[in-house]
Amino acid sequence: MEEHRKRHGRRMDYEERKRKRTAREAHKASADAQKIFGHKAKLHHAKRHAEKVQMKKTLKAHDERNVKQKDDGAVQEGALPAYLLDREGQKDAKALSTAVKDRRKDRAAKYSVPLPKVRGIAEEEMFKVIKTGKHKGKSWKRMVNKATFVGEGFTRKPVKLERFIRPMGLRMTKANVTHPELKTTFQLPILGVKKNPQSPLYTSLGVLTKGTILEVNVSELGMVTTGGKVVWSKYAQITNNPENDGCINSVLLV
């Protein structure tokens, strides 16, 4: 095709046709959008929506940059000529808003734990009753329904004595840990469960639910204490429901 174009050139009305086609494009897209249905429509509308949001954002950003706003009235030092006296100080809104946001964020950060409150979890949800033995009515055995952390050297108790079963399928050994300041995420091995806010029993069982404080191995990150020692482990708080997501997301507590 390129060869042909080079030899014979484009047709005479190429530019005109192209211009017209681009001009019609919006109409055609609209017609198509009205015609499609089903899954195609869903995908299309989702895409269109995202595009629109993006467009609006950029437009807004442009507007914000252009808007001028009153200054807080701080008088500049030094003498001003008379013709400038009645002028009010102005300042770009953008800069102001970001400054305010930053300040607010800083203040909040001082006292915040990532997840200060957690939802209570009932025992029925946490454990599945397992009926065993001759006397099925007793049902003393429980299986943990949530993700758990089990230490490396753990061996299960004999069947008759094991009250809580922590299934292999739900055992987790690694957590995605986000460093809140660096805004980066690492996958780190879990060392232990420091505290499950639901109950001390869950802490001892190593149940991982939302809001649980973990101890993670941060030696990979190469963090150093003020004394110059390498930090080996740090605490992190789980921010998701591991049993629903199949992974553990957490925030490092610094």
């Binding site: 060869e3 080079k6 030899r7 249905f37 089903g38 899954h39 995908l43 599945k128 329904n145 299934p167 399928g169 739900l170 429901n241 049993e243 629903n244 997501d245 199949g246 992974c247």
Partner: protein, 669 residues
């Protein structure tokens, strides 16, 4: 478009976003979609596990297809493999395919993990979340494959547009400095339409042209120009030439431009020849001096001549001259090159071990002599005497061609060859007999029997013999004798009876599914009854007598009634007559007679045509009929039994309500 020999067609590689859309869409279409939280938990788990597995399978299949379809460079012909290496960079190519493979494994791993987790799902919500997470992670893995997929798509497109070079056929390879006239030479000897421009590196890739020489197909490969520098410094364009030179078994034609119009000195051109000479090893090599319309080899100055002679010092190099501009010697160059290559190939084949396989089989048998009889080849006399046709001999045989020429010379008109002249028939006079192809609409060729004459003769002879015997003399007393006649008559009757029985039985069967009037109720006339009895051999005389008696009785009663009516009912008649002007059919006579026949069965026919009641004229009744028909059209169409039929056959048609709704609405699926 056909692709390069040894490379199959590759299906297009979608972008990563498209890839995800296609797969997730397939999952949605091809797995069940209806699930409720009150279903059994195992069912819910299976439902979501199936979705996860299906998605993984689809990804696996599609990625596997990509991996298997792209050629493995190590398995290809060395020429193709190194050409692909030059064009796409082997490492990059392998890395991209490797990444796709890794993604495939990762996705499999994700599916495995999440299926395991799904086994512990205790609610629909949790299962659904897990499924969502699984598909999300698979999609993320795919999204990371954006670059490899884009690269592979580009490679695919480029591969499909590579020229179809067959590395094993007879090939002429044209190489040399840029701008020495390689492409114009290819354009001259083949139908390839390679772009020719007056600047260097017009040809940026390999081009293939095809031509015929000695009834064989040849491919001519036009390569981009090569500059004289070390292999490491060569760019992709030059490397393509080098690849072709290195791996194709072909005749190499090194083009030189002695006029130096290409911008490179003769010295430089000779140097290049020497530096790429190792690539010409074991190949017939030609030094083609191009542009001889400007400078010929003989016109060269001594020092330049010395440079060219360094090339010619090697005896294996043949020098030929041509000008693609004036087309002088172009065909000669081609012929020399082709001959050289053919000779070379035969030589190579003779050297190889495979020639033995064929050479062993060639054997000329010489039978042993068994006696002294000389067995000479048989040559017919006519052939022996035949003088060899010689155009210049004045006494030569006269051919039709000669006749044609004579005729043309004498200006007698157009000669038409006589096809019938050399027919070999029993009688020469038959030659020009006209035989119609079709006679009476039939192809006579279908009816030709080669032995027809003999057969006819035999038939005639037989006929004569029969006549002689007196076979055809007719016998006057040829009547049926009475015995035979009787016999035939009986047979005829039997046949008729049989036919009638058959007919009756068929009619009986024919009516099987219809209401049949029972025999008792059937109307049978007296004559039918009596003939039936007679036929079966009973005497119906008593019956007939009784019937006659009864008829007589009836008749008497009738007459009496008539007489009574005539006496009493004269006044009523007027009233009846004036009653219905339209009801002409039910005559006054009938109506009046009804009243009289009190003791008899009542006539059921209505007194008047009710359909016409209340209508002034026939036109009105027609109109009414028309309106009625119109009103009945819709109910008829809906197969309603009557006006009162309010039946709705199906309220909830299955096809509209059951199953999965993909697209559209409930009323138009």
């Amino acid at each position: 478009m056909s692709s390069v020999a040894g490379l199959q067609r590759i299906t297009p590689v979608p972008t990563s976003a498209d890839f995800i859309d296609v797969v997730l869409n397939a999952t949605m279409r091809k797995t069940p979609t209806v699930i409720h939280k009150n279903f059994k938990i195992s069912r819910i788990r299976n439902f979501y596990m199936r979705k996860v597995k299906f998605t993984q399978d689809t990804f696996d299949e599609k990625l596997g297809k990509i991996i298997s379809e792209f050629p493995v460079l190590d398995n290809l012909h060395p020429f193709l493999s190194s050409l692909l290496n030059v064009l796409y960079d082997k490492n990059h190519y392998k890395l991209a395919l490797g990444q796709i493979n890794t993604a495939r494994h990762l996705i499999a791993q994700v599916a495995k993990d999440y299926c395991r987790l799904l086994k512990f799902g205790d609610s629909l919500y949790r299962c659904k979340q897990l499924k969502k997470a699984a598909l999300g992670r698979m999609a993320t893995i795919m999204r990371r494959q954006k670059d490899p997929l884009a690269y592979l798509e580009q490679v695919r497109q480029h591969i499909s547009r590579l020229p179809a070079i067959d590395p094993n056929t007879r090939t002429l390879l044209i190489c040399g400095y840029p701008n020495v006239g390689k492409s114009s030479f290819v354009n001259k000897i083949t139908r390839a339409d390679v772009d020719v421009q007056p600047y260097a590196f017009t040809t940026k890739s390999l081009f293939v042209g095809h031509m015929d020489y000695k009834y064989l197909r040849w491919q001519v490969i036009d390569t981009p120009g090569v500059l004289d520098h070390p292999l490491e410094e060569m760019n992709t364009i030059e490397m393509q030439s080098i690849t072709a030179l290195a791996h194709l078994r072909s005749a190499v034609m090194y083009f030189m431009d002695l006029s130096e119009q290409c911008g490179y000195t003769i010295e430089a051109q000779c140097k290049l020849f020497h530096s790429i000479k190792p690539l010409f090893l074991n190949k017939p090599t030609l030094l083609v001096i191009n542009k001889i319309d400007i400078v010929r080899l003989s016109d060269l100055s001594l020092e330049n001549r010395a440079f060219v002679d360094t090339i010619l010092a090697d005896k294996s190099v043949t020098v030929v001259e041509a000008s693609t501009y004036s087309e002088e010697g172009v065909m000669n160059v081609r012929n020399v090159a082709c001959d050289a290559l053919l000779a070379h190939r035969v030589e190579q084949k003779l050297k190889g071990s495979r020639i033995e396989l064929v050479a062993n089989k060639i054997h000329v048998a010489v039978p042993q002599k068994r006696d002294d009889v000389e067995r000479k080849p048989f040559i017919p006399e006519a052939v022996k005497d035949r003088v060899k046709y010689d155009k210049n001999d004045p006494n030569r045989r006269k051919l039709q061609k000669d006749e044609e020429q004579e005729m043309e010379l004498s200006g007698m008109g157009i000669y038409s060859a006589d096809l019938k002249r050399d027919y070999m028939l029993a009688d020469d006079s038959w030659k020009y007999d006209k035989i119609p192809e079709f006679l009476n609409g039939k192809n006579i060729a279908d009816f030709i029997d080669p032995d027809i004459a003999e057969k006819l003769e035999a038939l005639e002879r037989e006929e004569e013999a029969l006549e002689a015997q007196g076979f055809y003399e007719s016998d006057e007393s040829e009547m049926l004798d009475s015995d035979e006649e009787e016999f035939r008559d009986a047979a005829d009757q039997i046949r008729k009876k049989k036919a009638s029985i058959k007919k009756i039985s068929q009619e009986k069967n024919h009516l099987q599914n219809r209401p049949i009037i029972p025999r008792k109720k059937r109307h049978v006339t007296l004559s039918e009854f009596t003939t039936g009895m007679r036929k079966s051999g009973h005497d119906p005389l008593v019956l007939e007598k009784r019937a006659a008696r009864l008829v007589e009785k009836k008749k008497e009663a009738w007459e009496a009634a008539e007489a009574r009516e005539a006496a009493s009912g004269a006044g009523e008649m007027d009233v009846d007559m004036g009653g219905d002007d339209m009801d002409m059919a039910s005559s006054a006579g009938a109506s009046s007679s009804k009243k009289v026949k009190k003791g008899m069965a009542i006539d059921r026919a209505p007194r008047s045509n009710r359909q016409l009641a209340g209508l002034a004229s026939y036109a009105q009744s027609d109109k009414a009929n028309e309106l009625r028909d119109f009103a009945q059209r819709l109910p008829n169409r809906l197969a309603k039994a009557s006006e009162s039929d309010r039946h709705i056959p199906i309220t909830r048609p299955k096809w509209m309500l059951a199953g999965k709704r993909k697209g559209g609405k409930t009323d138009r699926r």
